[in-house]
Symmetry: C2
Subunit: 401 residues, 2 copies
């Protein structure tokens, strides 16, 4: 079974259905910077489904759910936007089906903005028998082996069927380290696909399509990519192909290389990043948006991110520790459950352990972003980041001592 573009008739019916769903205001997509501190900036994206305060961390809702969380909890933690994975959703439940069901927002009960990736990254990492050429990528589903074709146009079509508010261009992401030739080839293909995606996306008031800077760890390729994308006058720019195996210093150097060549009036999104330390160092270099599975995935593996650093709840030293993860947190998961209980839940493979640690981790990530937004406004981001790191180090010394 090969799933291709739908018939025009069905597509019309689906689009009509989709358009009827969101209670859209007249707001177009807009980005405003309210304050800067060095290269760092804080501001907001406004769009019909709501405001995204930046710098923003977007929890990952892979298959239509931020794993182990009710959508209302995600919202209550201060997340303004969540990410959906096009690859997962096109395979299950399927893009056309999602459209018939009224789109991803209604499906997962998230009424704020949703950003979707293009599907390309996960086609490369998860699917079988993929074949990539100028036209796009052909692959087999890791779920049921069905054959699929994804072109730049189909990626945008799928993201539209899902009802995505911020859509990403299809790109080719090269895992590092890689030969310059391969990096360059992928970067140029990604540029050509960016143009095709821009055409396919067209004019959609209130929605946005972002381009993705590629170029691996080669500064001149990164600059060429950024400049060419800037010329396309897109509504936002992502930096892709980082946090794919290279040291943090390389990632930060690439951000510094690219940043001057991206329009300062457009949001900058660092894809798939990262640790709390990565977020702080990237915000200081001008990044406005992030997504990462780290807080949710770590939460399902017994790891807690806190003001006191990263805590492995599986460790026996927590077995009789009646302290919560963070006595000062506003999050119930962080404040009201003992480490001893969390240790027990993790050791017993209890679902509640995953629920509580995911909740704690997303709370910590959102609190960290909120802290940075305030610090930038007050012109003290560096001090904030130093205090945050000092908190982690203090706890590590206490644990060792």
């Amino acid at each position: 079974m090969t799933e291709g573009p739908v018939e025009e008739k069905e597509r019309g019916a689906i689009r009509k259905h989709l358009e009827a769903v969101p209670a859209m205001s007249d707001t177009d997509f807009a980005f405003a910077v309210h304050a800067t501190d060095g290269q760092a900036r804080t501001g907001a994206i406004t769009m019909p489904r709501g405001k995204i305060r930046t710098p923003a961390f977007m929890p990952v809702g892979t298959a239509g759910t931020v794993k182990a969380m009710y959508a209302s909890q995600v919202r209550d933690l201060g997340a303004d936007v969540v990410l959906g994975n096009t690859y997962h959703l096109m395979l299950r439940p399927g893009a056309e089906r999602m459209a018939r069901l009224g789109g991803l927002h209604r499906f997962m009960r998230w009424d704020g903005p949703i950003l979707t990736d293009s599907g390309g990254f996960q086609v490369m990492s998860l699917s079988a028998l993929r074949k990539l050429d100028e036209q796009g990528v052909t692959f087999r589903s890791h779920v049921d082996g069905t054959a699929h074709h994804m072109s730049p146009e189909r990626s945008i079509e799928i993201q539209g069927l899902l009802g995505s508010d911020i859509q990403m261009q299809l790109d080719e992401c090269v895992r590092l380290p890689a030969e310059r030739e391969a990096i360059e080839k992928a970067m140029r293909l990604s540029l050509r696909w960016a143009e095709r995606c821009r055409t396919a996306f067209g004019e959609q008031p209130g929605k946005a399509m972002f381009g993705i800077v590629q170029g691996g760890d080669v500064p001149e390729l990164r600059i060429e990519s950024a400049r060419a994308l800037a010329d396309l006058d897109l509504k936002g720019y992502a930096i892709g192909g980082l946090a794919v195996g290279e040291p943090q210093a390389v990632m930060l150097a690439m951000i510094e290389t690219v940043e001057p060549h991206l329009p300062s009036t457009k949001p900058r999104y660092l894809m798939g990043v990262g640790t709390p330390d990565d977020l702080m160092r990237s915000v200081a270099r001008g990044i406005d948006m992030f997504d990462c599975v780290m807080p949710t995935r770590a939460g399902r593996h017994g790891l807690a991110y806190t003001r006191h650093g990263r805590i492995n709840l599986r460790n026996a030293r927590h077995a009789e520790d009646t302290r919560p993860l963070d006595e000062a947190s506003a999050c119930e998961a962080s404040r009201a459950y003992s480490r001893a209980y969390l240790h027990h839940l993790v050791r017993s493979d209890e679902i509640l352990g995953m629920m509580l640690l995911t909740w704690n981790n997303l709370a910590y990530y959102q609190d960290l972003m909120a802290g940075m937004r305030v610090a930038i406004t007050e012109g003290r981001l560096d001090a904030f980041c130093e205090e945050t790191r000092a908190g982690w180090a203090r706890a590590e010394r206490d644990a060792a001592g």
Copy 2:
């Protein structure tokens, strides 16, 4: 490593700690029947940690968590009491450790009454290398292979260390079908253990120890067991050894056999039962309390219990069904999520699917109990049960038609 009774000194420290935890009132354990309808009755157990409205369904919190639920959600659904499994908790985190941590209530953040089983049933079904004699049962943990001994006295001691409000005698439960000789032997051993447990429990104002009627599917053994236990003047009586493989008719016949021989002034608890239909038929025969893993376990396997009957969300026919499980439910999980979304979550093995279906199922079970309590008060339990079954049948006809 063999875990036996703790040293007297440590035990003293632990008990002191435990006693300091609950904000106990002067209420003793008391049971009052407020209304009857045939053999069915509705009333309440009052005890220091709160009131248990009967007939009551007790969600199972096996290892210190009602799986995939926050404790506050369980409470909000109308559950007045939860069950903890002594076998699981004695192995992990361990009874003495639990006492040092302040008891199970604090550990799992449940401040209402907790009933614990004796551990005996799960020793028989889960552990390895068990050896049973007059003194008790020796076994190896299924978690880590450690050796343990459980006597009637140690079972009561462990339940005390956990901080249990309603404790169960150690008994021997025979899987049916079985030879009369084996059933009789186990019943008599259980009676002797009941006396030892009663002595070990002593006088504990505000708490209760229940005896367990055994006797398999042999009426005269059941009657002998019930009468002998009644003579012990315990605070409540359970019927054990049912729902272990026999037809529903046999189970109901045994309830009818036993019921006249149990004091009408004491609560009657049918252990490990059952389906919604089992609950209705057992309440009609005079049962006041139930526990069962069915709603929670089924929820983790894609099955929903609803006013419209049991729904298997894995079934492809739900893939584009935008209806909720029950549009009239007060529970968000039942009312606000589409069947299509639940189907997607179940098919994708998403934790949220288990969270939502467990939530729905416990809501349905609690609603069913609340409905029966009102119906008994109004003298219309039979009509209520008929209407409930008609609702299931109607939905089945609709699905087939």
